[in-house]
Symmetry: C2
Subunit: 399 residues, 2 copies
């Protein structure tokens, strides 16, 4: 009976492909390379236990009562400290905002900034859950390819000029400069500076998703765009899901104070505030150095798992396939022979015991049908090797 | 710089009046009757401590890892059990959905159902945060007065007929039948049945807010509308904020499975899922009987505080004032002399040491300017008496 009552916005919704696939695999003996789950052995369980005890012993009301919409003030100050560690300086607690995961951060940012018909630039490929939020805002998309070193800046500038010449000035660029999801690339410092110059020249807002900022395990880790942002046009978001535990659903925004005030008003409508209890836990995890001790551990585990996956891919994948060599994050992205449709191949892969995310979901226009995203953070090492072996034989049977 | 980038939706946002007032009182020696905070001495701190320990000892991954968008399945089954205790039977786990407080439930429900220009019926007065979400959807409002026994059903039917005769069929009724916020009224069983008949006859959806459903401390507590709903047109929402602790930000929806699927798709955009950790805590609190033991305790504390407030009002308020005698919930609502504007009076009240919420915020059209909402759950008994005494002298000086 509900269909005829639904709003126009509801009709635009699309379920997440990842979650649909996870449903297919439920109860089956399938190794999933589909999710983006952290390895559970990275969770600092004992330290969290000590922290929850202390909160409930020393200041239970702070963790159990309502709090301010932007977050517990003490927690916001710790978010400033944590952002400082990523090189973002010159900010104070009025520049940071606690959210229910970086998903809610992106949801609020895009709802506050994007109207139907606005021109929005996204990477190809890009983070699929962000694309789904953007789609619900009905913008005009411009896609710019990601190359070995991240976003192709020549293409970016050409496409901006073209769009302006057609009377459509781009409003916003959504970008993942560090350990890009799904491509695994990281932009170098000079490209970051050039990107900001382009944004400045054409007056474009930049939404920077730094979900994997602390998870770069090879080579340089240049500062985020927000650290280089002089005019306040970068809106930065990150998350505790990868450095503490995703079950807390905690993320944060760093932005210009004026924008934060708009987020605050919107958040009052969405859910009043982020849970106090989980804010207190994360706050103590920063204060006590838990996060700082976690980061090198997680990097080491994921570096090793990445190597296991890349070795297996190298060994088993068909020779006409290409794949990323990620310097961070949780994923390898692969480009297969043009005639393979990874969405169609998925059913057979699941039947043989492996799940992945078909790459089309990571393209705003569902192109990239011959691509796929493979997660290496969650499966065990032996499962990683086994899964790639099975997957390779599926791919070969589709070639 | 951000104003020119904001979306049309952002421009509609309005900060919560309650929160603005709370800001005024910060750092000042003010007794606040403004908030809706539970009494901190009702929080079962020791039991929560034991529960968090056990979760982290026995099944840490369940509390710390990502989970399904609709909630942890075991928790959903417990939500079914808890809803059963409110008389809602014949449902299963596919009818319930875990949200970040009932605020997020209302946010998703209204976004999924209300388009600009849709006709929405609300109580006068009604819950201000729900009104703010609804305002952001740009509906046509119909206001129906709340009388001693809740929503005036004759007025409801008359106004529905009038709207239909003008070619505007109402789509949705938002109602708080039990311990209404702010009016404190509870609809009797026969009125509930008649309300559902009206909804059925005119094909109107009913969104039932049962935030205070477990907090009725006097007289009968008739079953919620959802328990009487035969056709599945009632969408029910409730919260753990009043029966466990608001710092967990946990609420839930009970609805028709088809609608729940839409909520699931929307929630994937909003924040992926409600925190696993807090879900596990609430789940154990239901399983171990903590909630069941809490309810009579909280009722007793609030019944007593209500009596203290009513006694003081009776003693000190001017004789031309009217006020509710709430049978549940956390608030007394007062109607003052028509010439008093409680919004204008607030500054003086705060100066003299008392805060409250001006009643205009609880009217979709900001009428009811001579009304005010007074919270009795949070202040201590001596503060309640003192605050009413001060407030009465402020009112008299404005009369």
């Amino acid at each position: 009976m509900f269909e005829r009552f639904l709003s126009k916005d509801a009709a635009l919704l699309k379920g997440s492909e990842i979650r649909d696939i996870l449903k297919i695999t439920e109860g089956k003996n399938v190794i999933s390379l589909a999710g983006g789950l952290p390895a559970p052995d990275t969770f600092p369980v004992e330290e969290i236990k000590k922290i929850t005890q202390d909160i409930l012993d020393n200041d239970p009301e702070k963790g159990l009562q309502y709090t301010a919409t932007a977050g517990i003030s003490e927690f916001r100050r710790e978010l400033v400290n944590l952002s400082n560690k990523r090189g973002i300086t010159g900010i104070n607690d009025r520049n940071v905002f606690a959210t229910v995961g970086s998903q809610e951060a992106l949801f609020m940012i895009f709802n506050l900034l994007v109207d139907p018909g606005d021109v929005v630039i996204v990477e190809m490929p890009s983070y699929l859950a962000a694309l789904n939020i953007l789609r619900s805002r009905k913008p005009i998309f411009i896609g710019v390819n990601v190359k070995e070193n991240g976003l192709d800046l020549d293409e970016l500038e050409t496409k901006i000029k073209k769009s302006i010449s057609e009377g459509k000035k781009p409003k916003l660029l959504y970008v993942i400069p560090t350990a890009q999801n799904p491509a695994g690339t990281t932009m170098n410092l000079s490209d970051r500076k050039r990107l900001l110059e382009i944004a400045e020249n054409y007056d474009i807002l930049v939404v920077e998703d730094d979900a994997y900022g602390f998870l770069v395990f090879d080579g340089d880790n240049p500062p985020p765009l927000k650290a280089l942002d002089k005019s306040g046009r970068v809106i930065y978001t990150s998350t505790f899901s990868k450095i503490l535990a995703p079950g807390f659903r905690l993320g944060w925004i760093v932005a210009n104070e004026e924008f934060i005030k708009n987020v605050e008003m919107y958040k009052q409508n969405v859910d009043l505030h982020t849970p106090s209890f989980t804010q207190m836990i994360a706050m103590e995890a920063i204060k006590r150095g838990v996060i700082e001790r976690q980061i090198p551990k997680i990097r080491q585990i994921y570096r090793h798992k990445r190597d296991v996956m890349l070795d297996a891919i190298n060994k088993y994948f068909p020779k006409d396939a290409r794949w990323s060599k990620p310097v961070g994050g949780m994923f390898v992205f692969a480009w297969l022979d043009k005639k393979i449709d990874t969405t169609k191949m998925l059913e057979e892969a699941v039947k043989r015991g492996v799940a992945y995310v078909p790459g089309a979901s990571f393209y705003y226009d569902y192109s990239g049908r011959n691509t796929m995203r493979l997660n290496f953070s969650y499966p065990t090492e032996s499962d990683l090797e086994k899964a790639i072996q099975i997957l390779s034989s599926v791919i070969k049977s589709f070639s």
